[in-house]
């Protein structure tokens, strides 16, 4: 029998993370800096609110858009933190994590052959999701020399008459790069000039360590062409709850809602209840976690520097992305040897696109004792490589 798999899917590789995960899971005693989720548990007051909701029987479907109370909280949060106003009745959609919101947005916008610009190295889902929608994902490389910032010049080199969407993720997984106001303004001008829809995944916004976060949606003329995505996973350590949200003008929200309605129905009810509590009483949680991550980031970067591994100081998210190209090993071999010899798991940079070659991703969403041990093992490993 000829392969029954849809042709546009065959060319999409499995996530490099997935391959690496299988190698790591087969080993014992691994210290993992490969985990892209907080090592905190969900703050207790949030879990407790979900337990209370469960006791009160919150086990039914919710509105397709999500519980109105939650959408109202999201609107207040958007106003407070991102300085953008959205109408909870028509401009906010609660989704199953940002992952679903991303898929909805791309499917709502892309027709076969439409192009989506995205910056690389980046989160693993962006290009595949575009391909699934029969679109063409066009990578724009960012470089270590620029602290992985996205420049207008780099975008201009890749834009075409078929470009419809610009996908942004700042702070960036895996580089920790941020988008300072000036860059943000340049990119907004670029989007307006080429009449692009901006899809901005700001899941790590609350983990910005200095200078404050600027959302591109808040810039003049941008709200009407922006789909803003965010969720609760990183800020409130709620990855397993699977709750995210999209904010966009009514026409776009309605289009995304149609797909969501027919494929998902609604985001999990209990998760939505937990999310309400997070937004109402969780401001201090985010602050507390940010302070902890900052110390871990400082520790990892100082340790890498001591080892003679150059690493730009990540300004957001919880990933360090050091350059290891000068050891004469590919990213994958470096990561495999490190795992093999010292039982420390870091993700090869190439899992985040070909421009990640020469780098590894070290997540500092691990506890401090593990980070210390991982760094001392890595120092030993690097010492041997140098001999």
């Amino acid at each position: 029998m000829k392969s029954p798999i849809a042709r546009h899917l065959i060319g999409v590789p499995r996530s490099g993370i997935r391959d690496f995960f299988e190698i790591v899971s087969a080993r014992k005693g691994v210290i993992s800096l490969g985990i892209g989720e907080p090592d905190f548990v969900t703050p207790w007051h949030i879990s407790e609110a979900a337990l209370f909701a469960l006791e009160r029987g919150a086990t039914a479907y919710t509105s397709n858009l999500g519980i109105l109370e939650l959408r109202e909280e999201v609107a207040r949060y958007m106003e407070r933190f991102y300085k953008v106003s959205y109408d909870p009745k028509t401009e906010i959609l609660i989704t199953v994590g940002v992952s679903e919101a991303l898929d909805l947005a791309i499917r709502a916008l892309i027709q076969p052959g439409d192009e989506v610009l995205y910056h690389e190295p980046c989160y693993v889902s962006y290009a595949p999701v575009v391909t699934f929608a029969h679109g063409k994902a066009v990578a724009v490389s960012t470089r270590r020399e620029d602290d992985f910032r996205l420049t207008r010049a780099a975008l201009e080199a890749k834009v075409s008459p078929r470009t419809k969407v610009l996908l942004l993720n700042f702070p960036t997984n895996p580089t920790g790069a941020v988008l300072p106001r000036k860059d943000c303004e340049e990119i907004a001008a670029f989007a307006i000039e080429h009449d692009l829809v901006v899809l901005t995944d700001e899941i790590y916004a609350e983990l910005t360590y200095a200078g404050g976060h600027v959302s591109i949606a808040s810039l003049p003329g941008m709200k009407e062409r922006t789909i803003f995505l965010n969720g609760f996973s990183k800020t409130w350590a709620m990855t397993g709850w699977r709750i995210g949200f999209a904010c966009a003008p009514p026409e776009l929200t309605e289009a995304m809602m149609k797909i969501h309605q027919y494929t998902i129905m609604c985001a999990p009810t209990l998760g939505q209840k937990a999310a309400i509590e997070a937004l109402r009483h969780g401001e201090a949680d985010a602050e507390h976690m940010r302070k902890d991550y900052e110390k871990r980031r400082n520790y990892i970067c100082a340790s890498l520097e001591e080892m003679g591994i150059p690493c730009h100081l990540p300004k957001g998210a919880f990933y360090a992305f050091p350059y290891i190209g000068h050891f004469g090993l590919s990213s994958k071999d470096f990561a495999l040897n490190l795992l093999d010899q010292e039982n420390v798991a870091c993700v090869p940079g190439t899992a985040f696109g070909s421009s990640g070659e020469g780098f590894i991703r070290c997540a500092y969403a691990a506890n401090m004792p593990n980070i210390k041990e991982a760094m001392s093992r890595m120092a030993r490993f690097v010492g041997k490589l140098r001999k």
Partner: protein, 165 residues
């Protein structure tokens, strides 16, 4: 005059783990090791840091030990108010902690002894007989669940994938 200072990140880290080396503290705080050492010395000198202790789960040890909390009503003294009497009580080695409280009594005292008899003796013969102590109510502790911000039961290893995007 006592200088009022804020709880900074260095103090927060030491409160979490007083055994953390100055070198590691310096790395976490993005400061020099000497600067961190100097600040710790300053905190010790000025009495901001009053000591370093391990948080021990005594329920895990095979020792004879009982703990009690005592509510004490006292008559404040003409000169010295509550402080003088509280300090006097605080000098007894049996007393672990002592607080001045609002509400139905004045001092809350945490005491430890080898057995019930020893604590009873402390209350009846030492504490209650101090001039100014009006009454005492003693509660014996049965089990410790959390102490100094630390849960006594080690939490189970949480399920988490080894590598995620």
């Amino acid at each position: 005059m006592l200088q009022i200072r804020v709880m900074d990140e260095l103090l927060r880290l030491l409160k979490e783990n007083a055994l953390e080396s100055p070198r590691n503290l310096a790395k976490m705080l993005n400061q020099s090791e000497d600067a961190v050492k100097a600040r710790i010395a300053d905190y010790e000198r000025t009495g901001v840091i009053r000591g370093y202790q391990a948080v021990v789960n005594e329920d895990k040890l095979d020792i004879d030990r009982v703990s009690a909390v005592i509510e004490v009503k006292i008559t404040p003294e003409r000169e010295g108010g509550y402080d003088e009497l509280a300090n006097r009580i605080g000098r007894f080695p049996e007393v672990d902690s002592i607080y001045l409280m609002s509400g139905g009594f004045d001092l809350l005292i945490f005491v430890k002894g080898r057995n019930l008899k020893e604590v009873a003796f402390f209350v009846s013969d030492k504490l209650a007989t101090i001039e100014g102590v009006v009454s005492t109510v003693t509660h014996f502790m049965l089990k410790t669940y959390k102490d100094s911000g630390v849960l006594m039961e080690a939490e189970k290893e949480r399920e988490r994938l080894g590598v995620t995007p």
